[in-house]
């Protein structure tokens, strides 16, 4: 699913100020039926994260927190069963799973003697049963299961997707008889930066030599690709030479501009692989 910059922009345009709920996602699918669901979700998630990064700070001023907390208290005071916290997050255009800890922390500050640590908060988010207030526990839980971009469940899904694609890639490498070292083996050897796979014998993909393969179970947009280039791909290049990145959910075509330099992008496992021929003399 390789999109041109223009196609990508069209999708991104539809995602401005859309709350990260399953309803929004459903609408997006209807709007772009030709795109795969996973690609759309990945783009949605990335766009939303960019949006949150931009606006994150304003939700964490003490005035904002106080105002949200009061609105929350008023809301649950009227009806504890209503989705107060979720609606509050949507109204102020903030991620529900991120709004939950704000209120939770404020609540704990009020009810406990010692201010809560980050790990306590995180643990409560993972398991709202630990939240001492039943109403708040339900509200938090509701936020988390309804947020499709943030929260422990979403994190887990993303992690699982990443893992699954690495496994898929490993199977494909095995199937192609390409021997490799995986991340764990590399780490055990003391490598400081480790791509998903280093080929023990380099191959050529579409005419480009590659030494390593990195699997990315996401859509490659400009922002994430630049970050990956800086933090990972160039670091791999610096150590192991040119390599291949597979964005399983596609990428913006224009980003595949470092082929000559030694970073090749693909949206699937390559078919055009040339291996070193051993002379059978």
């Amino acid at each position: 699913m390789i999109l041109t910059k223009a196609q990508y922009d069209e999708i991104a345009q539809c995602l401005v100020s859309v709350p990260p709920t399953r309803q929004s996602l459903r609408k997006l699918k209807q709007r772009f039926p030709s795109q795969s669901q996973a690609t759309l979700l990945s783009i949605f998630s990335q766009e939303y994260q960019k949006h949150i990064k931009r606006t994150h700070a304003k939700h964490h001023t003490s005035e904002a927190i106080e105002s949200y907390y009061q609105r929350y208290l008023n809301g649950v005071g009227r009806n504890g069963a209503a989705p107060v916290l979720l609606e509050l997050a949507n109204e102020v255009d903030y991620a529900p799973s991120l709004m939950a800890p704000v209120i939770l922390e404020r609540f704990l500050q009020e009810h406990e003697e010692t201010p809560p640590s980050k790990s306590v908060i995180n643990s409560m988010l993972r398991d709202p049963s630990q939240i001492p207030d039943g109403v708040l526990a339900n509200q938090v839980y509701q936020c988390i299961v309804n947020d499709c971009c943030y929260g422990p469940l979403v994190d887990c899904i993303k992690h699982a997707i990443g893992h699954e694609h690495e496994v898929l890639l490993r199977d494909m490498l095995l199937e192609k008889n390409l021997s490799f070292l995986d991340e764990d083996q590399l780490r055990a050897k003391g490598y400081d930066k480790t791509p998903d796979f280093i080929l023990q014998v380099p191959v050529a993909v579409e005419g480009h030599i590659i030494h390593w393969i990195e699997s990315k179970a996401s859509f490659g947009d400009e922002c994430s690709h630049q970050a990956y280039l800086h933090d990972q791909f160039w670091s791999y290049w610096n150590r192991f030479g040119p390599g291949l990145v597979i964005y399983w959910y596609g990428f913006i075509q224009e980003l595949d501009c470092n082929r000559e330099r030694g970073i090749l992008l693909k949206a699937c496992f390559p078919t055009d692989i040339v291996t070193l021929c051993h002379s059978v003399a």
Binding site: E87, G134, Q142, A160, H230, N238, R239, F240, R261
Partner: protein
């Protein structure tokens, strides 16, 4: 001096005698007494003859090559006696030297004007020629001699020619007066006081108009007459003898004297003999006319005189009496390709009939004379020419003037061309390849702390980021290294606090330097002038590449002329600028240490051993390898030495030499006590002794070329220069005898030394002054040994790679063919090295001993390849042995450590005690086993080495030789491995066990159970189960629907739920894609789902049951979940959450409350052994503490009692369940 030439011309002295006289101070017995007498009277002038001759020729040619002096000649005018030498009182300033052209009345204005104009052009000071002085990005602000063009960063602006005469640019003939093609190699005196030595002799007393109209095409260094005309000349009482007046050192004055002596009163202004001085500003004879005059042998004016001078000149060249062989060849080729003679105003050029064979009349009266002279010299230099590359030979052989003047020479050249295999290929521009990460040197164990390790990790990335940015942008106009990257580099260097980090970074830097600047990026390069070959070589699909290459080839390339200053071309510029921008003392010091070490290592590398000379194909193949290896080592050494020189002399480098003698003396006193960065003198002496000059001298030259002005004056380095001068003189090319150095080896040394003598920082007078002391100096070579020097290790490719300026000859000839002026700099790209592979492992130094001696003796009579093979095998097997021990013995011990640790943990409880203590206990138990390593290592080497040796040696190797070779290999490998193992095995075991302990202890953490014992898929599994991420996502959707908010039409169908749980089962059975975190979340979600089922909170789609699930359906689903929990989940399922207040609280919202499913669930949990009764009781107990509505509390209490009341046997429980099932919703009421 003219007198000597005169006497030659008058045939009073034979050429041979003259050359003998010049070359040796003592008279030879061969000399005719008459000759001897004639010459002995001139004795004091002896060493001034060659500079005189060179200057004379340059001056004479100035009319053919009119704009400025044609060819740089770094020759002092004449009597440049050293201060304090007998025969002449000390002179005023250092380097005060003869002036060819002291200011005369007619040219005084010009003389006053010209220097400033020139200086302006060459220096950055304000002046009319300022426009050339643009400082390049990152270049040394005040580089050597203050000349920006010494540093490649300083891109010279191309527009030459003053605004007044733009047409001159195009119409220039190929000549050297163009500053851009021939950057000055001289340095400029700072002020009026500087009677500055000049590099190039400018024989042209330029007229005022000319100096104004063409300030920049005036050649290079300051004119020889540096003393401003307003000041009186420095009194010169140099040893002329003969009653010549002081200050009489210029050719013209000398001529003047000759005239007097002969009582010839030719009334002409001295300046008129210099054709160029007569030129009007627009140079009418040149503009718009590029066609060359045809040269006719029949029209040569004074053959005999030309022949004679050509012979003297050639003899000087042959005896290495000229500083730079190739410079002279260049000059000669210029004469050969001179286009036309410049006409003079007054017809002074007509040969004066009275004295046809004297110096009175110009030597070159026409183009015919020039060509004749050039061809004469070329005939004498044929041998050198025949060793030039094929392209140059072709151009020479095809030169129609040469054919016309000497068909014989042309024939020899053609034959040489046809027989030549000396294709000089052009390497592809190297692309940056990063230094690969090597765990052996780069992993955590090599760093002092985690922090240092991570800092270095970041630095590596920053370094390459900077490098990439440089690659992308350094060619952009206006981009500046320092501005663009300086602060980033310094920030990075700032993080290198620990010395150990510096050494890591320096290693990276040095490796990258070698990799980028020495390797062409894999491809072998293409061949000059062999387009069809190139095409077939590259194949059709490479056409694009070829096109790009061609573009690069035809793109104008600024070239440095036949003796360019030291530069840092291409990627080298990056490393130079990096060093400058980093400006880190620590870095420089570490770099120098590292470079010195590597230089020593490579310089002493055992290179090709002399081999019994059999000329069969096999040794030919071997020799190619030897040559390649030699070239690689030599090029690496040159690169390293250049950078060492750059860094070592960096602190002392200044724009100019110290202005006064006093200052210079004090600096000398200071510097003379600074030990050299690398004892190059010792290495040079060793090299000469071991007859490895061909390896040592080229890199030493690179090192010295970056020295500052003071260096050559220091005793230490002065002695090096003396040795080099001696060496230079001894490399007579025509001498070919047993034990002599190979021709191309000599040629390489002559080229690099000649180049060195032209470097601005090397005093001009050095070459001619030191000469006198040479005889005393003898280098004692180990005559018996035929060192590298006697082996044909240098080929044309290496020669041209090391001395790209030799390619200027080809450019000059090519520009003659193309008719272009050569101003665009030609089309030949700089040749860069083409060798690729790493430098190979250094053979191990074996300990001495009888066995070692025997082994040495054994190898002595075997081909060197045998030795290399054995050493290589031993090195590799030894290294593999260590790796094998790590993977087997050490790995076993680590496994033992792990199981011991597990036992320890079991007996001592979860935490197992202090990790450090644990480690100690384990190590004390395990390290003694390390002793086995030696036995196992020995076995390994014993087993593996012979096979490897056998595979690598020729089949026909005699059995005895083979078995000896095998045994030696076994011995060496064992020695290597056991030395390492006995020193390191304990530390290695410790390290590995430590890592294992921390791994195990970490594994004891909260997630340990999750990782515990994990089953894989069944063998038949085809991994088609739904992906875990998909399932979590699906279940999350159900949960979010159940929790709400939801649209009215939203809901879940019971079938979907059942399907979902079915898929969950499949996924849990196929472990292929499942990772622990995902499984944990699935477990937790399944518990949440169960709670929602129990509380009847799942919104069901469709008409049959609009409110909730059928009881039966819910029960079925719970059954599925229970069995998944029991059988399929491999992580702990948080079942206690079923009884968390939040989940139980879900029931509080439902009306009527239905507790039967919960009770059913609890009973099943107990029955399946998923939860213990007491555990459930505890949960229920704590539930009572929560705040509930009153009625809910009561019902909860009832449930609690009901559950407690049940007997602990399974049978009645079942019945109770059935009971509950039949009376749905009424259980609590009944009880």
């Amino acid at each position: 001096m003219a007198a000597v030439l005169e006497s030659l011309l008058r045939e009073e002295v034979s050429v041979a005698a003259a050359v003998r006289w010049i070359a040796r101070s003592a008279q030879s017995s061969e000399d005719d007494p008459g000759e001897a007498a004639a010459l002995s009277s001139l004795r004091p002038l002896r060493k001034e003859f060659v500079p005189f001759l060179l200057n004379f020729l340059r001056e004479q040619s100035s009319r053919v090559l009119p704009q400025g002096p044609p060819t740089p000649a770094k020759a002092p005018g004449s009597s440049a006696a050293l201060p304090g030498r007998p025969g002449g009182p000390p002179r005023g300033g250092r380097g005060a030297r003869s002036q060819l052209f002291p200011p005369t009345e007619s040219s005084s204005a010009a003389a006053a004007e010209a220097p400033s104009a020139r200086r302006g052009g060459r220096r950055r000071g304000p002046g009319p020629g300022r426009e050339r002085g643009g400082r390049g990005p990152g270049g040394l602000e005040e580089g050597v001699g203050g000349e920006s063009q010494l540093w490649p960063g300083g891109r010279r602006s191309r527009g030459s020619g003053s605004p007044g005469s733009p047409s001159l640019v195009r119409s220039d003939p190929p000549n050297l007066s163009n500053l851009e093609e021939f950057p000055p190699v001289g340095s400029v005196p700072p002020g009026p006081a500087g009677t500055k030595p000049s590099r190039r002799i400018n024989p042209t007393p330029v007229s005022e108009e000319r100096s104004l109209s063409k300030p920049k095409t005036c050649f290079t260094s300051p004119p020889i007459n540096c003393v401003p005309s307003s000041q009186p000349s420095v009194p010169d009482t140099s040893p002329w003898g003969h009653g010549l007046p002081p200050g009489c050192r210029s050719l013209q004055e000398e001529r003047e004297m000759l005239r007097k002596e002969r009582s010839k009163q030719l009334q002409q202004s001295p300046s008129t003999t210099c054709a160029t001085s007569e030129l009007g500003p627009p140079l009418p004879s040149w503009t718009g006319n590029l066609t060359a005059e045809s040269a006719d042998p029949a029209r040569v004016s004074s053959r005999q005189r030309l022949e004679l001078i050509a012979l003297v000149y050639s003899s000087c060249i042959a005896e290495n009496l000229v500083p730079n062989l190739f410079l002279e060849l260049f000059f000669v080729l210029q004469l050969l390709t001179a286009r036309r003679m410049v006409a003079t105003k007054d017809g002074d050029l007509e040969p004066s009939p009275g004295a046809p064979d004297s110096l009175e009349s110009p030597l070159f009266q026409s183009v015919h004379d020039c060509v004749f002279f050039a061809v004469q010299v070329l005939e004498h230099q044929f041998q050198v020419l025949s060793y030039l590359d094929k392209g140059t030979l072709k151009l020479l052989a095809e030169n129609e003037r040469l054919l016309c003047f000497s068909p014989a020479l042309q024939g020899r050249l053609r034959a040489a061309y046809e027989g030549s295999v000396a294709k000089v290929s052009l390497a592809m521009p190297p692309s940056a390849q990063a230094v690969s990460f090597q765990p052996e040197t780069d992993n955590r164990a090599n760093f002092s702390s985690d922090r240092a390790f991570h800092t270095f990790k970041k630095q590596r990335d920053v370094f390459f980021e900077v490098l990439r940015e440089w690659e992308d942008r350094h060619e952009e106009p206006g981009w500046d290294f320092e501005k663009g990257l300086g602060s980033r580099i310094r920030a990075m260097m700032g993080q290198l606090s620990a010395a150990c980090s510096h050494s890591h970074f320096v290693r990276l830097f040095q490796k990258q330097l070698l990799q980028m600047c020495q390797s062409p990026g894999g491809t072998g390069g293409t061949v000059l002038g062999e387009a069809p070959d190139v095409l077939s070589m590259l194949g059709a699909d490479k056409l694009g590449r070829l096109r790009r290459l061609q573009e690069r080839l035809v793109a104008p390339q600024s070239s440095g002329g036949p003796c360019p200053p030291p530069t840092f071309p291409g990627c080298q510029g990056f490393f130079r600028d990096f060093i400058l921008s980093a400006s880190s003392f620590q870095f420089n010091q570490h770099l120098m240490d590292s470079l010195s070490l590597k230089i020593r290592e490579l310089n002493s590398l055992a290179l090709p051993q002399p081999e019994p000379s059999d000329e069969d194909g096999e040794s030919d193949v071997d020799w190619q390898g030897e040559r390649r290896q030699f070239a690689m080592v030599l090029l690496s050494l040159r690169l390293l030495a250049k950078f060492l020189g750059f860094v070592a002399f960096l602190p002392y480098r200044g724009p100019e030499p110290p202005p006064t003698r006093e200052l210079q003396d004090s600096i000398l006193a200071l510097r003379s006590q600074v030990p050299p960065a690398l004892d190059v003198r010792a290495l040079l002496q060793q090299g000469l002794r071991a007859r490895r000059a061909v390896l040592t001298v080229p890199w030493l030259v690179e090192f010295l070329s970056l020295a500052d002005h003071i260096v050559p004056l220091l005793d230490y380095y002065r002695s090096i220069f003396t040795v080099l001068l001696h060496l230079h003189r001894s490399l007579v090319l025509s001498k070919e005898s047993e034990g002599e150095m190979c021709f191309l080896n000599k040629l390489l040394l002559l080229a690099v030394l000649g180049w060195l003598f032209q470097i601005p920082t090397v005093p001009e007078d050095l070459f001619f002054l030191e000469e006198g002391q040479l005889d005393a100096l003898e280098v004692d070579t180990v005559a018996s040994e035929l060192g590298l020097d006697g082996m044909p290790v240098v080929d044309q490719h290496l020669l041209y790679t090391c001395c790209p300026y030799i390619g200027e000859l080809r450019k000059l000839l090519a520009s003659w063919v193309s008719g272009s002026s050569g101003r665009s700099g030609g089309f030949v790209r700089k040749i860069t090295p083409t060798t690729t592979t790493g430098l190979g492992a250094q053979p191990p130094r074996t300990s001495q001993g009888l066995q070692a001696q025997l082994a040495q003796a054994f190898f002595h009579n075997q081909p060197p390849s045998l030795r290399r093979t054995v050493e290589f095998v031993a090195e590799r097997i030894g290294s593999n042995c260590v790796k094998h021990i790590k993977a087997t013995l050490v790995a076993d011990l680590v496994r033992q450590a792990e199981s011991l640790l597990q036992e320890q943990l079991v007996t001592q409880g979860q935490d197992g005690g202090d990790p450090a203590q644990l480690l100690e206990i384990l190590c004390s138990q395990l390290c003694p086993h390390g002793a086995q390593a030696l036995t196992q290592g020995r076995e390994f080497c014993q087993k593996k080495s012979p096979g490897a040796v056998r595979a690598l040696l020729p089949e026909e190797t005699p059995a005895a030789v083979l078995s000896s070779a095998e045994n030696i290999a076994v011995g060496l490998a064992t020695e290597k491995a056991c030395t390492w193992l006995s020193a390191n095995i304990t530390a290695l075991i410790r390290r590995e066990v430590k890592a294992a302990v921390s791994r195990t202890l970490r594994a004891q953490g909260p997630e340990a159970a999750a990782r515990g014992e994990r089953r894989g898929c069944s063998r038949a599994c085809e991994h088609h189960a739904p992906l875990p991420s998909h399932l979590i996502s699906e279940i999350k959707d159900v949960l979010s629907l159940a929790v709400g908010p939801r649209d009215p039409e939203e809901g879940v169908s019971p079938d979907h739920l059942e399907q979902l749980l079915g898929q969950l089962g499949q996924t849990l059975q196929c472990r292929q894609f499942l990772c622990p975190p995902a499984e944990q979340h699935l477990a937790k979600c399944s518990v949440d789902l169960a709670s929602l089922l129990v509380a009847d909170h799942i919104p069901v789609l469709g008409p049959p049951s609009p409110r909730g699930l059928e009881r039966g359906q819910a029960r079925r689903l719970l059954h599925v979940l229970l069995s998944l929990w029991k059988d399929d989940f491999q992580v702990p399922v948080p079942l206690q959450l079923l009884l968390s207040p939040r989940n139980v609280g879900l029931l509080a919202d439902t009306r009527p409350r239905e507790w039967d499913l919960l009770l059913f669930l609890l009973r099943e949990l107990v029955e399946k052994g998923l939860m213990g009764r007491t555990e459930i009781e505890d949960c229920l107990g704590s539930l009572r503490d929560a705040q509930w509505p009153k009625d809910f509390s009561e019902e909860l209490a009832t449930l609690f009692h009901l559950f407690l009341a049940e007997p602990h046997r399974p049978e009645p429980q079942l019945r109770a369940c059935e009971l509950v099932q039949t009376n749905r919703g009424t259980v609590l009421a009944q009880s």
